[in-house]
Symmetry: C2
Subunit: 324 residues, 2 copies
């Protein structure tokens, strides 16, 4: 009919919130007088590291699976992911009593593999390339009839992630700035649509690593510009922004800023030491933009999304491990 493709709407986010509420945590918002003093702002940390499965991904995966017709969901759900989305999908599938088929690259870190196995998902191993992942996923879906739940390029997933902002804005009145990491864009797009609806004048800033700055470059270019070889310690921020999230991000996000890996590691460690909470590198990126002075806040009330807390405790970036 010549209309623009349907994008993410406030209604989808509201529906997601009601749908997932019984199955995910309403995560706390923490503050720190030390970090406020250091930053010269009022920081409100939305602790998705305390979410079910240790990351915001539980929201989108849960909303997507619970949105499926019964006949469809009973054949199972599938995805290709080495990270938190895989575990989140495995978790909700077990909750719903349906099979989960996860395609994972052979070089997946042990703790992330363990999380998926703990939830009883069926894992298919593949070569660590995008093409091999997609081929393996297609094969699994063809063989099982399972439904693909994409980690971010899916309105149901984006709507679920947007519930982070609905909660945060309910917990902290009068936020002036929102800082959120960006990778494939599911979280940032969901947050942007929700926040723009509830707080039209809030400044929305996405943060990504310098070594995986496709969102910043895509926003400048006005079209998606993939990173060919993303290199960053933030393993959750290596994906290229998806087409559906990009539409919303172009429309509603004020700015994308980049931070170095060194700034991410410093920020992560500082959050651990001062706030006594575990945040993974990807989860610390938004705060890194504050800590390294990449965004100017001038005393504002700032929501900072700590997106996840799944860390390999045997391999911390500031400890050089013993050989062997």
């Amino acid at each position: 009919m010549g209309e623009a493709p349907a994008g993410l709407t406030w209604t989808l986010i509201e529906q997601a919130r009601a749908r997932i509420a019984p199955h995910v945590h309403l995560t706390p918002v923490l503050t720190s007088s030390t970090l406020d003093q250091e930053s010269g702002a009022h920081l409100y940390f939305k602790c998705e590291n305390f979410q079910k499965g240790g990351a915001f991904k539980a929201r989108g995966a849960t909303n997507a699976v619970l949105s499926l017709p019964k006949a469809e969901v009973s054949r199972g759900v599938a995805t290709h992911s080495s990270g938190n989305h895989a575990a989140a999908l495995a978790r909700v599938a077990r909750l719903w009593g349906v099979p989960a088929y996860i395609v994972m690259p052979q070089n997946t870190a042990a703790p992330k593999r363990a999380a998926v196995e703990r939830y009883g998902a069926q894992i298919t191993w593949c070569e660590p390339t995008q093409a091999a992942r997609e081929r393996a996923a297609e094969h699994v879906i063809g063989a099982t009839g399972a439904t693909l739940i994409h980690p971010y390029n899916d309105l149901r997933v984006m709507a679920g992630q947007g519930t982070v902002a609905v909660e945060l804005i309910g917990q902290v009145p009068d936020l002036e700035v929102l800082l959120c990491p960006v990778s494939g864009g599911g979280l940032l797009s969901g947050i942007a649509v929700a926040a723009r609806t509830l707080l039209p004048r809030v400044r929305i800033i996405g943060v990504e690593p310098e070594g995986a700055d496709d969102a910043a470059r895509s926003l400048s270019a006005g079209k998606i510009v993939p990173c060919e070889h993303p290199t960053t310690i933030a393993d959750g921020l290596r994906a290229t922004i998806g087409a559906l999230p990009f539409l919303e991000i172009r429309r509603y996000v004020d700015e994308i800023v980049t931070v170095s890996d060194a700034a991410i590691v410093d920020a992560m460690r500082h959050l651990w030491e001062v706030m006594k909470i575990l945040v993974e590198p990807s989860g610390a990126a938004a705060y890194a933009a504050v800590a390294c002075g990449r965004v100017k806040l001038h005393g504002a009330r700032v929501g900072v999304v700590l997106s996840g807390g799944n860390v390999d405790l045997d391999s911390l970036p500031w400890i050089r491990p013993a050989p062997g």
Copy 2:
């Protein structure tokens, strides 16, 4: 008059609570469905790792300093401690604008030294023996007129620590068991008096490391039996129980159990991984007694005090550091 020496009373704890409330955090109580399933009980974690300065010690030190007459406090306060009490005392002294004199052994870990320095305390270094510490503290007090605030053998300190239980019992109704680490006994005695007043039938269990089991042996012997050479990774649990805390612990505590260092490290790591919070070895001891099956809980509602979260992130017990 032939009366027993005045011990810790509920009134002292109530007064402490009102006195310190503006200056310390009302710390949250966290729960975990994973840890509940594993333990077969309902665990309510009182997160003193989120307390000001990263440990419950802020409570006792603050109450003691705020109890002093103005003329006395203006000459300053002093203690000998290499740990969280030193930082807590330094913090409240700065808050009150009075000098803090801290005697620390030369082998104090860098992060604990840094915490005391951050609050602007005057540090006197001494040999790492109990005798050298006490001698140095006496010298400092003689030279300055400062008041000694003992880390645990002091009713004002014990009353402050007891506010942990007042809060916890207010946050979680109908607790049946309370688990708390024990070292010098300030925390356990305060909690015991408060909990016995508010919940007369609650089962109160102290937990200490096998390598520093003076409280268990003292309770058996009916008199204080010091550990000559405490050896445990839990650096906050190496002190010998004090005379004033021991009086209350004998009267009100049901049992002292011991846990191995291996159990403490496992518990600490498990809390980090599952709950995404930092807990120091001493802070994980009470949960270790649950995780290793040392206490039987049978579905009970159990308060578990996580007493602190100050960890040297460069030296984690499960990572063998690189040489040099």
